[in-house]
């Protein structure tokens, strides 16, 4: 919804923003387009921000695309992103080890570019079915009959608790 998109501040305010990616950014030649390395650099930045060693590159790349699409919705944001990404390239961000990269990102906290990447990437990354699977989440369940016959109560490392209310009156 456009009106919720335009809300300016708050790192998580983009929860009302669509997380669906399309590929508009690829066609705009100001330093964010395919071949510019922006997607790859951003994917590295995202892995430092949300480090999950068991997750392959694909969800990070898809998330980078979603972030770039969000950036390309408005010219001002687009040019700011192009400049910030160029800065990171000039600093050879991709060649930094994990600790140095993390330190560098900590120094960028609070900057508009960082906040927008963090907010939009978080939404897209953890909404990716490949990430769900890696974290052990099974996604939609209604079409599979829910979990009533698929383990809603399969936890076996604690005793079966009482389900009825306490009969001894007010504690």
């Amino acid at each position: 919804m456009e009106m919720t998109r335009s809300v300016p501040s708050g790192s998580a305010s983009s929860v009302a923003v669509s997380t669906v990616a399309d590929d508009n950014y690829k066609r705009i030649p100001i330093g964010l387009e395919r071949g510019s390395g922006s997607r790859k650099l951003l994917a590295r930045m995202l892995r430092v921000m949300f480090p999950h060693p068991q997750i392959g590159d694909d969800p990070y790349i898809r998330t980078a695309e979603a972030v770039l699409n969000m950036a390309c919705e408005k010219p001002g944001r687009q040019v700011a992103f192009a400049a910030a990404i160029q800065d990171l390239m000039n600093l050879k961000f991709e060649e930094m080890d994990d600790a140095a990269a993390l330190d560098h990102l900590r120094g960028m906290q609070g900057h508009d570019f960082f906040t927008q990447v963090q907010g939009s990437a978080l939404l897209a990354f953890y909404d990716d079915p490949e990430v769900w699977e890696a974290l052990g989440y099974e996604g939609p369940s209604f079409d599979k009959g829910g979990y009533v016959n698929r383990g809603f109560n399969d936890l076996d490392w604690l005793p079966e608790p009482r389900i009825e209310e306490y009969q001894g009156g007010e504690a």
Partner: protein, 521 residues
């Protein structure tokens, strides 16, 4: 569906959620035709999505709003103070289903707690004894488990962790309900399939909502004129000061006018207050029914907070009913804990998409990734307790931002009261003790989500100068204008409010039907 002429003075209900939907069914059942104006679309159970963000974008109220105050929402989610539904059935689409009653002393908050500095406490003009028959009716209508012969839901994985922890720290009053989702078929609705998508609208219909009971039954009477995509923008009044019509924008943005004999406002606490404020006139310069200047004030949201705990073994909290487990031991009033009022602890589960967005808004980095990495081994609970009404916690009209109809949006101002902070801290500590007792290896304190329980902006009061409406929800100033949702709550109590909203609407329906039959309205 029946059509009521726009120039026929009708009973007009604004909003089709727990309050408005219940009122519409209870009145049409008694032979009284009603027009229901619902701002949102007519979504049906088969339309609901088993996907957190898709469902959010499908049904959440995303019209612009603004926030102010020291609450963290104003920083993290400045445009989203509340997490409520814009669709036929209102927020009963999204609600989890917990149905504890308010307690006797909670209807007498001022008398019980005494004067609390900075709080605007008041006793309700009604008592639990007066509410009990309506609580019975509401529980029977909603099919609350553990009540009136309804079977308890079985323990799901999240509950097993929660209840074992409760037992080990010495709590007694834990159970899988009361919870308005069927453990076995009841009232034409199936048993739960434990699909875990309560917050996204329950596709199966096992969960009570206005959409599975009140709306279809009200339509069957032939007396309900249900108008979705109809956003009320002003209540007008005649020269004598009585409400005489509701102006609303239809889905194309064209204004329509429905003449009214009685107007019942049930738009959830933010929009209900906003609509009254938007309906100002020279007779009602501060807004309709706002001679007391209490419209919009005393906004409450329950204090809330969540704790997500990590274990070294699988939990899979997302499997099964989202909130089918509560602990009531702390719901008592016991000032020795350092605060007045009480709170419940209730199981909760979010998928990775929502957990990432809400666990620690703005977070990133290795510590955050650790929370997410433990997803399958995580158990969660929600703390929900009474927050203090404060005059300055308030819904007002924005001076800067306008909505799609070019009307000022609601600004929601909120500051935690010291009592709220003390209760939340204590609750976090108890939650950690519970999970620690069953071997948690880590936990995270999650701040309040955008408010799901929005209460008190048009509160009931015995004295017209203290509130907006009387013991029947009738506004003190406008004799044919009623408040029919959680806005009328004088104080918030600890319990989830939906059961009480339904019971109040049933009670109001009896009152309204009597007054209409006697020719008093």
């Amino acid at each position: 569906m029946t059509q009521i002429a726009q120039d026929e003075p009708a009973v007009v209900i604004i909003g089709s959620g727990a309050g408005g939907g219940t009122l519409a069914y209870e009145l049409t059942k008694q032979g009284i035709p009603c027009v229901v104006l619902e701002a949102g679309p007519y979504l049906k159970n088969e339309d609901y999505e088993n996907d957190e963000w898709k469902a959010f974008h499908q049904m959440a109220w995303l019209d612009p709003r603004t926030t102010s105050g020291s609450w963290r929402i104003a920083k993290d989610f400045p445009a989203l103070p509340a997490w409520i539904v814009k669709a036929v059935g209102g927020t009963t689409t999204h609600w989890s289903g917990a149905t504890p009653r308010f307690k006797d002393h909670e209807f007498k908050a001022l008398s019980t707690y005494g004067k609390v500095e900075g709080a605007n406490l008041l006793d309700w003009p009604i008592t639990l004894a007066e509410m009990e028959p309506y609580y019975d009716r509401a529980e029977i209508a909603m099919g609350s488990t553990h009540r009136h012969g309804r079977k308890a839901l079985p323990a799901n994985n999240n509950y097993k962790v929660f209840a074992n922890g409760a037992e080990r720290v010495g709590y007694k009053m834990y159970a899988t309900g009361p919870y308005a989702t069927n453990a076995e078929p009841y009232d034409g609705r199936p048993a739960s399939i434990q699909d875990g998508f309560n917050f996204q609208g329950d596709k199966s219909g096992a969960k009570w909502s206005i959409m599975v009971r009140e709306i279809p039954r009200a339509l069957e009477t032939g007396l309900l004129d249900l108008r979705p995509d109809s956003h009320a923008v002003r209540i007008t009044h005649d020269a004598a000061g009585k409400a005489d019509a509701v102006i609303y924008a239809d889905k194309d943005g064209h204004l329509q006018r429905q003449a009214a004999r009685v107007v019942c406002v049930a738009g959830n606490s933010i929009e209900t207050a906003r609509l009254l404020l938007l309906s100002d006139s020279s007779r009602y310069p501060k807004g309709l029914a706002n001679g007391s200047d209490q419209v919009g004030r005393n906004y409450m949201r329950h204090l809330t907070g969540s704790v997500y705990a990590r274990f070294d073994k699988p939990v899979r909290m997302y499997r099964g009913e989202t909130m089918a487990g509560l602990i009531a031991d702390e719901a008592r009033h016991d000032p020795s804990r350092g605060f007045v009022g009480g709170f419940y602890m209730e199981t909760i589960s979010l998928g990775p998409a929502f957990l990432a967005a809400f666990a620690e808004p703005g977070a990133w980095g290795p510590e955050f990734a650790e929370i997410m990495n433990a997803y399958a081994n995580t158990a969660g609970m929600w703390i929900v307790g009474e927050d203090m009404p404060q005059e300055t916690n308030r819904v007002t009209l924005s001076e800067k931002v306008r909505d799609q109809w070019d009307l000022p949006v609601a600004n929601v101002h909120f500051d935690d009261h010291a009592n709220d902070v003390a209760m939340r801290e204590y609750g976090y500590g108890r939650a950690e003790a519970i999970y620690g007792a069953v071997g948690a290896i880590g936990h995270h304190r999650t701040p309040p989500y955008p408010s799901t329980h929005n209460l008190g902006t048009c509160r009931m009061s015995a004295d017209p100068s203290d509130g907006v409406c009387d013991r029947n929800g009738r506004t003190h100033e406008v004799e044919n204008l009623f408040i029919s949702d959680g806005s009328q709550m004088t104080t918030g109590a600890a319990a989830n409010p939906t059961l009480t909203i339904v019971a109040l609407a049933m009670r109001q329906a009896d009152h309204l039907a009597g007054e209409l039959k006697r020719g008093n309205l």
